[in-house]
């Protein structure tokens, strides 16, 4: 118990505590700060770039998580069926997860390039567009493009996790419901979905956490541009704290992320409670 406590305090509690404390100081890179209370936070609340970054982060997280869930669930259901070359397809689904994020971000950077995009090139060749699409050069295009890249990268985690959950559901439920004349949709609605709910809660919590704190993809693809339209809280915190030297302000931005992350953890907590209840627990 003691080693675990020490590890938790040293590597989890201390960095989080230090980061939070820094947010209440005026620390700069290379200079220890003094306590200034809520000054950083009161400034950040009025700062239009921070407001934009918060909006971007929420938009990015909600849209990407919903799409990842939908596509991941669909893939999981598909892979749960008896398919030829089943192992091969399952391995292929994992590919985006295996590739280092920075590498896949560079690939997407090329795919979305204003002048060299393969997508634009194909669409031009097919005669469907007249000019190259400006994927990363306008705010909404850039937001959507980064979400697409995030979805591509995040689907394997959702799909494989849900597939693992699907495989824990006893086939006897499906057999019994077939005998009762249930349609495939009814089987999905009344058997698959309820029994999968606990794993969905966990998977979605982690998916939301990963998406909300995403950094590498944005850093490589856009560095928060154009016009700060793809800055997430994490990238803005980094830019201000490390590149800009405003350590305390960056820490305050990172601290502002905590309530949202706590909400995601609470979601997971209640999801797990539900699982305990389903398994005959007290709660």
């Amino acid at each position: 118990m003691l080693p675990a406590t020490v590890l938790l305090l040293l590597f989890l509690t201390y960095p989080l505590g230090l980061g939070t404390w820094l947010g209440f100081t005026d620390a700069k890179i290379g200079r220890a700060g003094e306590w200034i209370g809520l000054e950083n936070f009161s400034y950040l609340i009025t700062d239009s770039v921070t407001q934009l970054a918060l909006f971007n982060t929420l938009f990015y997280t909600i849209v990407a998580s919903v799409v990842k869930f939908g596509l991941g669930l669909w893939l999981a259901v598909l892979l749960n069926k008896r398919l030829p070359f089943q192992s091969f397809f399952r391995a292929v689904v994992l590919l985006p997860w295996i590739v280092p994020t920075a590498l896949s971000a560079i690939a997407f950077w090329w795919i979305f390039d204003a002048q060299f995009s393969i997508i634009s090139w194909v669409l031009m060749k097919l005669g469907l567009i007249d000019t190259y699409i400006d994927f990363l050069g306008s705010p909404w295009n850039a937001r959507i493009s980064t979400i697409i890249a995030n979805v591509w990268r995040g689907i394997p985690f959702v799909a494989i996790s849900l597939l693992a959950g699907l495989q824990t559901i006893s086939p006897s439920y499906y057999e019994a419901s077939s005998i009762d004349g249930a349609t495939p949709w009814q089987q999905f609605r009344f058997i698959t979905l309820p029994l999968l709910t606990p794993i969905i809660a966990v998977v979605m919590t982690f998916s939301v956490l990963f998406t909300f704190t995403d950094f590498q993809l944005i850093y490589v693809l856009t560095r928060g541009g154009p016009l700060n339209s793809t800055h997430l809280m994490a990238t803005l915190a980094f830019q201000r704290a490390i590149s800009g030297g405003a350590l305390a302000e960056g820490a305050a931005i990172a601290t502002l992320m905590v309530p949202f992350l706590l909400a995601a953890i609470m979601f997971s907590y209640f999801g797990l409670q539900r699982r305990a209840w389903q398994q005959g627990g007290d709660k």
């Binding site: 290379g30 190259y132 560095r223 016009l227």
Partner: protein, 443 residues
Amino acid sequence: MSDFNNRRTILKGSAGIAAAATIGTGSAIFSPFAQAQSMTFKPEKGAKLRVLRWSRFVQGDIDAYMLNVKKFTEMTGVEVRVDNEGWEDVRPKAAVAANTGAGPDIILSTNDDANLYPDKLLDVTDLAEYLGKKYGGWYPAVQQYLRPDGKKWLGLGLGAAGSMIVYRQSQVKAAGFDTFPKDTAGFLKLHQALKEKGTPAGYALGNATGDSLWTNWLIWSHGGKLVDKNNKVVIDSPETQKALEYGKELYATFIPGTLSWLDPNNNKAFLDSQISVTNNGISIYYAAKNSTDPKVKELAADINHASFPIGPAGVPTESHLFFNQMIFKYTKYPQAAKEFLRFMMEREQFDNWLIGAGGYIAQPLAAYESCPIWTSDPKNTPYRDSVKNMRPSGYDGKLGYASAGAGADFIVTNMVAEAISGAKTPKEAMERAQKRAERYYKV
């Protein structure tokens, strides 16, 4: 002339040593002969050095640099490990090193990084003064960056990657211009003509550390500036407004997509003949000259370079990516580190490095203006005076934490991008930039 320069350099060197001796050079070791022209620092026994530098943009840079490193190790026995990172990544690593007190002994970083953590850096005044006196003096911008109080040197200048105009001669000529315009009015007319001809220009407007520096030029050329001499934020001004209105007209002529451009985008677009004019280091020309693709190689003959034009401000207002060399105080081997920098900056090594880099880096010391790289190919010459003519990024104020933070936060770049793309009115963009910059400059 060259002999004369050498004699003059030696005389200056002697004067420098004499001056250094009078102010006390502490750890410097002088030999009787060396007093005439050199200074050395005796590396600590068993010294090893770790150097972190930005990754090369042209291969010849790192090749020549590593040859000099090898020579240094052979001469002194000091092992030197050189790590390379993209220049975007060097700044955070340097910041972490400064904050934690551990990391590479020497870091070659960008712009005003040294001003972010001056207390963490080894005082190299003796070395800087020696080099300055021996090699014709440090250019003013180098002194502003690295000797912010006018006394203590925080590091040594390494040079700058010039952000000059790179253009296709044939396309500029086809647009009706025999030479590249030297004023902002002609510059705009050229861009409008290029667009009409279907050979547009493009300049980075994303969060690009090097290539978005042209936005400083845009503001400065019209008399605007982020701060005045007293570090008061004055970006929200009629001059900035004029610059942004001019920028709107200019932006209308750009190839689509420049809002997303980071540092490598314009290189790619230019070498693919999608744009006819951009701003860049000499790397586009270098890549064309050394390309194995005959089509790209052919392009080299058509490429030329020019300085940014002069605007209503009436003086050159160039902004270039500056490189500095910092020794961190936590190093166990300060003498070895100083000796390393001294060795690398001496003419025998530095000239070879400038030549190897093919003009990508312009010198910080006046004597190196005579390096043959600047005249062996006339197309290299415009890059020669990059450091000589540059304004530091925190112009017109004093450099420090605020100027470094404002630069890293892309305040000017984003203001320009917002206003000239029409995402915000110039007034709105200026107000936002003013507010953000005041946050940094309130310190």
